[in-house]
């Protein structure tokens, strides 16, 4: 059983997953904020390795990626950062990045170095399972969970493939679109999750567009976990020692726990 599986075995609550772009606004900031996110109630943190052409991301994460790259953040730095974070953070850490930086680093070496530093999983939004055999085989061998995504457009056949092959959890994209805050989520989210649940007992976490405790509560009432990214990035812009971001995470935590107990 992987470290990520453990999160979902704790039946007392649903998972809160936060996303931050490594190196935004600085590497030091990432080192500082991740333990604070964990303390404020996050169960898993996704660490975004910045890429020059983030086609699945909306304006907020594009801007954060751009800024992180201006700061000189490389995949090597991201791996090194996890090694450092591991001195104080025990929750699962998952890399989120596009395929090219991994490919260029060398798939085998990337998986090996990541695991060795203490990374538990990896999400690659531009690599569907159809193209994922190589990374899947290698990451599995190294003990890194390769998390695949499902979308509202996924057909029954694709849902079956993804639930069979995704490890750790299944990342369900809540909207057809890019990352970023939205006023409303897919109206048939409950139906979507129920449909997937019929085919798997693996946990389903929902992300893209979730930016308020109300939305988090709504999602948590149907799914196993809630993923929040862009809103966290936005709140990190406040120069308040991450007070507002931690406050926001605590609110999310309460909202999600409320959904669970009700």
């Amino acid at each position: 059983m992987s470290c990520i599986d453990d999160v979902f075995k704790k039946k007392r609550k649903k998972a809160l997953i936060a996303y931050v772009t490594v190196g935004y606004p600085s590497i030091e900031a990432t080192i500082k904020v991740v333990p604070m996110l964990a303390e404020s109630g996050c169960d898993i943190v996704e660490l975004g390795i910045p890429f020059s052409d983030p086609m699945a991301d909306g304006a907020t994460i594009q801007q954060a990626s751009f800024c992180a790259r201006q700061n000189g953040t490389t995949p090597k730095h991201c791996i090194e950062l996890v090694r450092q974070l591991r001195q104080e953070v025990s929750i699962p850490l998952v890399f989120m990045t596009y395929y090219n930086p991994v490919f260029k680093y060398g798939i085998e070496k990337f998986c090996c170095d990541s695991v060795e530093a203490g990374v538990n999983g990896i999400i690659v939004p531009d690599m569907p399972p159809d193209e994922g055999f190589e990374l899947e085989t290698i990451s599995h061998k190294q003990g890194l969970d390769l998390i695949y995504l499902l979308a509202p457009t996924s057909t029954a056949e694709r849902i079956e493939m993804v639930v069979r092959r995704s490890r750790g959890f299944i990342y369900l994209v809540s909207v057809t679109g890019t990352t970023g805050a939205r006023e409303s989520l897919t109206t048939d989210l409950g139906e979507l999750v129920t449909g997937i649940k019929k085919k798997t007992s693996k946990p389903i976490c929902v992300g893209f567009g979730i930016s308020t405790p109300q939305q988090a509560e709504q999602v948590a009432s149907v799914a196993d976990g809630v993923i929040v990214g862009s809103q966290i990035i936005k709140l990190m812009q406040a120069k308040d020692n991450f007070k507002s971001v931690c406050g926001f995470v605590k609110e999310l935590r309460q909202a999600i726990d409320r959904a669970w107990s009700s």
Binding site: F51, S52, D53, P54, M55, A56, G58, Q62, F66, R69, T74, P75, K76, Y98, Y99, N100, P101, V102, F103, K104, Y105, P125, D126, M127, P128, D130, E131, Y148, L149, L150, A151, P152, T153, S154, T155, R158, V162, V173, V175, T176, G177, T178
Partner: protein, 395 residues
């Protein structure tokens, strides 16, 4: 050649896109597979190619340029005379008809030089489809004429301010729109790049260039050419003319990329000449990238070649040795531009001017009984401001 069932040409191609788009690509591929064998569809494509686009475009015996170069006989495939001024109309028309068949009423496109945007805007106006064109801020500036042409034909032009503000970023933004509106929108991608089935589908629509050229050169000279030269950005005009000649091993095919301010300067767009394998915009192909796998900024005097990727079939053709890829810099391309203006009274697009320059040098080194066909992929009116600026002439 045909790609394998996962859309690979050898090790290049595939579908590296978010999950949301995979079912959309499946739908596109299924529809295209049916239409590929639908005589009525191709009948309409051919009829509109003739009456709307003005095909077949002439194969012109360029005696003036031939005389100037003093060697091989040069023919120009006159895609510059196609409706909207470039070969881009072939693909826009084909995909426009396909989108209409699929019931998609909203068309998304990206454009660099603006030629694909103009072609798409025209086809959408003709077929009654809504048209949104993404264009980098830098390209909007240097191709103002085309921006206005698109607007006149009813397209909405969206300026992209992210990244390098050129074609690459316009594609990113078009993909983001597509992911968001996949159910009712068709992404009318303008080159042989992107996820499968685009590289093959765009090639099929563009190979009309080579089919015509093959017949025309035989009619005019009684034989096939010795060389075919075309410029390569994403590579659609080049694939279009090469394709019907790929099996004729004795014909040398040459692709001319943009060396910008010189290969050593790092400011260029010579993906096949100076790049390495990677994944961008949904496909595995040669790329211009740094050692961390970040996509590099490119530079070319011609907006249409200013792209860090290239079609996967070109990558395959490079590795197999079937096509030779070379690079021509900004200054040389300008020389090619002026050469064709003066020897033939034809103003080539700056993209095509790269091929003109290389072919002119090549012709001079060959015998008079050899034949070169150059794909003159577009006309140069859109580039007048850039040429004037580069020559230091005020307009």
């Amino acid at each position: 050649m045909q790609p394998d069932k996962k859309g690979y040409f050898g090790e290049y191609g595939g579908r590296f896109v978010p999950e949301t788009l995979i079912p959309v690509l499946d739908e596109l591929e299924a529809n295209y597979r049916v239409l590929k064998n639908d005589a009525a569809f191709w009948g309409e494509f051919e009829s509109l190619s003739r009456d709307y686009s003005g095909r077949p475009t002439p194969l012109y015996d360029a005696e003036g340029m031939t005389g100037h170069c003093g060697g091989a006989r040069i023919f120009l495939k006159r895609e510059d005379l196609a409706h909207t001024g470039a070969h881009k109309i072939n693909n826009a028309l084909g995909q426009g008809l396909l989108a209409r068949k699929m019931g998609k009423r909203r068309i998304i496109a990206e454009t660099g030089a603006g030629q694909h945007g103009v072609a798409t805007a025209a086809v959408c106006a003709k077929l009654g489809l809504k048209c949104i064109v993404y264009m980098g801020e830098e390209d909007v500036r240097r191709q103002a004429l085309n921006v206005f042409r698109m607007k006149l034909m009813g397209a909405e032009v969206k300026t992209v301010c992210g990244g390098s503000r050129t074609l690459k970023d316009a594609i990113n933004e078009a993909i983001r729109d597509w992911v968001t509106n996949a159910r009712d929108s068709h992404y009318l991608l303008g080159s042989v790049v992107g996820p499968s089935p685009y590289p093959r589908m765009v090639r099929d629509f563009q190979s009309i260039i080579g089919k015509e050229a093959r017949k025309q050169i035989k009619d005019k000279t009684g034989r096939l050419p010795d060389y075919i030269v075309a410029c390569v950005g994403g590579g659609s005009n080049a694939i279009g003319i090469y394709h019907p000649f790929l099996k004729d091993e004795e014909i040398r095919l040459i692709g001319v990329e943009a060396a910008g301010k010189g290969l050593k300067s790092g400011m260029h767009a010579a993906t096949l000449v100076a790049g390495s394998t990677g994944i961008l915009h949904g496909t595995r192909s040669y790329l211009l990238q740094d050692k961390e796998g970040q996509i590099k900024q490119t530079h070319s005097i011609s907006a249409g070649l200013d792209y860090p990727g290239v079609g996967p079939e070109h990558s395959f053709l490079k590795d197999s040795g079937r096509v030779k890829y070379v690079a021509v810099d900004d200054g040389q391309a300008l020389e090619g531009f002026r050469l064709l203006c003066r020897t033939e009274g034809i103003m080539p697009a700056m993209e095509s001017a790269h091929a003109i320059y290389y072919a002119a040098k090549l012709a001079g080194s060959l015998n008079r009984d050899e034949i070169i066909v150059i794909n003159l992929s577009g006309r140069g009116d859109k580039d007048i401001d850039i040429v004037a600026e580069a020559m230091g002439a005020g307009l």
